[in-house]
Homo-oligomer: 346 residues x 3
């Protein structure tokens, strides 16, 4: 068992204040229900305040209000969830491998490496690539020609950055993700589909995180662009020439078609489908499975998708959806007939 940390140390690290025994030591962070005497946990929502007396945790991060219902040692915060995130970050800092180039990595002669760069085994880095200081390239990554990676960016193993991709500082890219694959562009010709060479690139701002097995296509011309602070989850498709504004977050399995322009501070849930050549305003929230085929000009929450019902009922209702226009016209007719009947009986 490690020696752990005193609450005083953790308060300093998280910009919180201790209530109770500042010398109490905790070893780990744990979920509220599982936390024991050596653990610290947190309560995010006042609605769980009733559970506080049952906690076995050594300490809790609480708002001052919530702390009134709790006898134990606490770190006081006006945003316990954020303080918890800072705590975990302090207790479990991102492990950066030792700087250096693994002997099995293959680097072109003119690759430029900043200070303290770490290149993992079997990685390949092509001519003209520039990796600023502190960049980590995981095992098996492929870094194409003329790629630029900003300082302290971290690529997990088996990431592919195609030629000319530009990543900002402090990017985190998870395994299996591909940046810079060709956009999907073809013109019909006499015999089939003629490929439009995709001669643009992918350009990503600072503090961007991209999950696993996501793909971001290079632009046909110009740039596919992700702004500063953008966060993408797993298995997302970003087509050519898409523009995503700063601090927008996108959950897994969402697809965004070509040249769509997404605003800043949007929150796009999982499995959304966004058509191409449209604009979404800043501060738009889309709930899960939203299907967007027109521009959204006003901030707000938008939804589509029909939740499940029992299969037998679904079979009946789904038939009716296809009759909806007819049903509406039957309602129109009923209203007219009823009005006529009322008039005639006056």
């Amino acid at each position: 068992m490690t020696q752990g940390w005193t609450l005083a140390e953790l308060a300093t690290a998280t910009a919180t204040t201790v209530r109770g025994n500042a010398e109490r030591r905790v070893q780990a962070v744990a979920p509220f229900e599982q936390a024991q005497a050596a653990d610290i946990s947190y309560v995010r929502d006042p609605k769980y305040a009733r559970l506080l007396p049952s906690s076995q945790a050594g300490a809790l991060i609480l708002t001052p209000d919530m702390a009134e219902a709790y006898q134990g040692d606490a770190l006081l915060s006006h945003n316990p969830y954020l303080s918890y995130a800072r705590l975990v970050n302090f207790m479990h800092p991102l492990q950066r491998p030792e700087p250096g180039v693994h002997p099995t990595a293959v680097l072109a002669d003119d690759v430029q490496l900043g200070a303290a760069v770490a290149i993992g085994p079997q990685a390949v880095i092509e001519a003209g690539a520039v990796l600023e200081e502190g960049v980590v390239v995981g095992a098996g990554c492929y870094i194409g020609a003329d790629v630029c990676i900003g300082a302290n960016s971290f690529l997990y193993p088996n990431v592919t950055l195609a030629a000319a991709t530009e990543l900002g500082q402090r990017a985190i890219i998870h395994s299996g993700t591909v940046l810079g694959s060709d956009g999907f562009g073809f013109v019909p010709d006499a015999t089939g589909w003629y490929k439009i060479p995709q001669v643009g690139r992918v350009c990503v701002g600072d503090d961007v995180e991209i999950g696993a097995n996501t793909s971001i296509d290079r632009a046909a011309m110009g740039e596919t662009y992700l702004g500063n602070g953008v966060k993408l989850d797993n298995l997302i498709h970003i087509a050519h020439n898409v523009h995503i504004g700063d601090h927008t977050v996108i959950a897994a399995c969402t697809g965004i078609a070509g040249s769509a322009r997404i605003g800043q501070h949007c929150q796009i849930s999982g499995m959304c489908s966004i058509a191409g050549h449209l604009t979404i305003a800043d501060h738009v929230t889309l709930t899960g499975t939203s299907f967007v085929i027109n521009s959204i000009t006003q901030p707000g929450v938008y939804s589509s998708g029909i939740p499940i019902e029992e299969h037998a009922l679904w079979r009946k209702n789904t038939v009716r959806v296809r009759q909806l226009d007819k049903l509406t016209r039957r309602i129109n007719a009923l209203e007219k007939q009823l009005a006529d009947l009322k008039n005639s009986s006056l």
Copy 2:
């Protein structure tokens, strides 16, 4: 041409009985419509019994009932589909590469390898990893620090298991799949989104198969868990802290959000979307494109998703869906007016 197998041999291998010439030899298994004299095939469903006389197959796997309508040689089984699966398994056993570590693989000094482990070219295995006997690691796989892989598990090329992932015995993982990428967790702070370090891991039971390009995130804290006998298809997203019960199968392109708890023996079809922090009971079947936003407490079959119609009709009906609440209130009003009219005309 190989010598093939006698029906007697195949009956022993599949726990079936021969009807007809036990010494007949077949060389291969083939689909019913294509099977020729050197092939063996099967009929799964009695509704196809009428096709039996037209078969060109050298032999068929049939139920005793179906066999009455067939003159040729047969293997009799009460479950021809399962017997067919056993037959293919016997005729085409999984090819395991020769044990040994390829000279281009990169292994940390303290990696523990059981007997008869095979490590392919360009694979990378980090410190503390434990691979039990008979494990196969394909070319280009990445096995992170402290990963444990149970006996006889088989990783196809280019699989990524991030640090601390635990796989049970006899797992099969297909190419491009990533286990242990960070869950998607951020807290808003003054400037954007603050990352919550994901300090849990992925834990997978025995006899699990996972398709290609699937991603399974590590837990924020604790475990993302797949039970024994779980089967996942391609391009599936499993978020952090999801729990999937034993023997549940999930088809391609489905996404499951964080902390969802899926029961045992569920059958989840393709392109389903399951929201986070909900529970699905055992023995639930979801049909394709099901959208689940609340817990399902009872076993049964559930559905959502509206099948296609002709585009012009869809345009009309889809407008009406957005008027449905209004339409319902118009029906309410009609019912009331009609009742009033009837009363007044009494």
Copy 3:
């Protein structure tokens, strides 16, 4: 700055004719709104003709009709979009790496390489593979046993072709894509799910392009087949034994279940779900998020999916969808009552 090309040279390369100064030089291609004096651009649609006088481009590709509204130098084409594609192809031909096998690549002894094949670093090619002339295998690719790759095919880095996959000529496969993973086939047995070995393969015609992180499963028996000229985007799932006809294009995030048979010249948009064991006719267009559960026998455009609305309205309407069958029966009753009332008041 490069010397660029004269309009005369570009006209020859694109089979267009110059109107104006054939000796004018341009350096690059650019989008219409951004094109400056050193750039050439195009206008695809006559509806943008009103913008022509504002263009800053050095030259434009236009139809003869559109060119009447434009004073500058032009390349005249009856299909400016196709001429633009040819122009980009001429100015930016696909960069093929120098032929040769990188010393870190691992090739089985009996691999057959045609003339001018290029194998990138860390690639692995198993026994029996045949690569015809001009094939490019990117860094980190895995080529399984007995794979055949047709002449001049181009695999970007980190592609996986499992054993026995057959690719035609001039294929382009983007990073992270997997061909030949096992189909998803299991039979229930006494204890759970018994795997059906997938002993077929993937067979791909000529002139096929496949995007990033797509997965195409091998057949249970026989072939999963993509016809000539098929184009697949990113993150697509093609299940075992699917057959896709010549020149069909499929956009990102679409999933096609087992044994579906898709016609020729189909256009399938993004995030579509196509059930298994059905047939789609030639020349079918599916719009985004289409959900297909029955065969489509006639060419035409088909759609499903409900676009977003404001969240509060969606909550109301989505409840009503689940009452649709009841609502319909209420309309039926109203119609009957109204008819009765009319009859009785006669």
